[in-house]
């Protein structure tokens, strides 16, 4: 919490905060105004979500800081493997939904 060795951190927090808000408002407007077809809408929301995830990592979680950045990257890749397995696995299982109706 009190780790203030990075002088630009306040500025970085504000930029990250604004970008996060913008990336939240964009999908909200897209949904409320019915601006896109269904699949385009889903893709747009996913892209906004992933971008926001990256912003969180760089502006709030300081993925670039620290003496052992390779451990961060390794943990990130491992996390991504877990997320992809769980999300893709869940979608795969749900694709069988019609067979149990």
């Amino acid at each position: 919490m009190s780790n203030h060795h990075d002088t630009g951190s306040i500025k970085a927090y504000i930029i990250g905060f604004i970008l996060s808000i913008v990336l939240t408002i964009i999908p909200l407007v897209l949904v409320l105004e019915h601006l896109l077809s269904k699949s385009a809408l889903v893709v747009s929301i996913l892209v906004a979500a992933v971008l926001q995830f990256v912003i969180q990592l760089f502006f709030f979680m300081h993925i670039r800081d620290g003496e052992g950045p390779r451990y961060n990257v390794m943990a990130l890749i491992l996390g991504l493997v877990f997320v992809v397995t769980i999300v893709a696995g869940a979608m795969w299982i749900m694709s069988f939904n019609s067979q149990v109706q």
Partner: protein, 304 residues
């Protein structure tokens, strides 16, 4: 001006037609099963390497295994086009729905099979190429053309076809097949009866109509449920033997206990269920999907 308009009118429909044809060719490879088969072969490669195998081998193996499984699925679709029309579950497949010609599917399946063996032979190793060819033959000929319409043991013996990607994944890394590979093979093999029969129980009317001698059609629901339980117990034991043989860590043991207990519980409740009710049969089917994902994920985590 009129030409421009014509192109504008024509291109969306042409685009639409192309996407329909491509999606028909994708669908004859049974993509949902393909995902599971690729996943298990990937896990087998990791366990064989006891770490992360080289990406070039992984990529070539996945490509050849998918082509082999997808090609034999296309042959299955081509051969089963007469019964797929009858069954509600399969009536929307590309051939019965008229999206694609049967002969095109046949040659597509043959082409994928040859491509699979060639890729495995050149970029992986001869054993992997041989296993791809055998797996293809097992599913397309032994299961589809011979067993499926003749014996209620069709999916028991046919389960071997679904387990082939394990051997392919393992052989791609080690160029040999150890006991652990065969035990992982047995996990899929023993899993297939409870998985398929759960579906066959509540799709019994359709299988009966199509004249396929599935176990519930021939021996009735009661006998099928008892046999499912029998294979489930064997599966449980096999998973534990795999723990010893595979030299896995406790994470795999914990995963094996959880997923086997869950599927055993569902199969047990399915046996207790009245024969005209299918709540637990459906739960067993869904649980069996979680089982495969969970077991093979924990195997990969279990090697580190």
């Amino acid at each position: 001006m009129s030409v421009v308009q014509e192109i504008h009118q024509d291109s969306p429909s042409r685009f639409h037609r192309w996407t329909k044809i491509i999606s028909a060719y994708i669908n004859v490879t049974k993509p949902k099963i393909l995902i599971m088969l690729s996943f298990t072969s990937l896990c087998a490669a990791f366990v064989a390497e006891r770490g992360v195998p080289s990406f070039s081998v992984l990529f070539a193996m996945l490509l050849s295994a998918s082509l082999s499984a997808g090609g034999s699925a296309a042959i299955n679709m081509w051969y089963d086009r007469d019964i797929d029309v009858i069954m509600e579950r399969t009536a929307k497949r590309p051939i019965p729905s008229g999206e694609i010609e049967p002969a095109s599917v046949f040659w597509f399946g043959i082409f994928l099979g040859i491509l699979s063996v060639v890729i495995a032979f050149i970029f992986v190793n001869p054993l992997t190429a041989l296993l791809n060819a055998l797996g293809y033959f097992y599913y397309a000929v032994i299961y589809t053309m011979w067993l499926k319409r003749r014996t209620p043991q069709n999916i028991v013996i046919g389960g071997g076809a679904g387990a082939f990607p394990i051997l392919i994944g393992w052989a791609s890394v080690t160029d040999s097949l150890q006991a652990t590979a065969w035990l992982m093979f047995m996990v899929i093999f023993l899993w297939t009866p409870p998985h398929s029969w759960a579906l066959a129980l509540y799709k019994n009317d359709e299988y009966t109509k199509a004249g396929i001698p599935m176990m519930p059609v021939v021996k009735g629901a009661r006998s099928t449920k008892i046999q499912s339980l029998f294979y489930m117990v064997l599966l449980f034991i096999c998973s534990l033997v795999l723990y010893v043989s595979g030299n896995f860590n406790y994470f795999y043991l914990a995963g094996a206990m959880i997923f086997n207990s869950a599927l055993l519980y569902c199969t047990w409740k399915m046996r207790k269920e009245e024969d005209h009710q299918f709540v637990w049969a459906k739960r067993t089917f869904i649980c069996s999907l979680f089982y495969i994902l969970g077991m093979f994920s924990t195997m990969v985590i279990g090697i580190f």
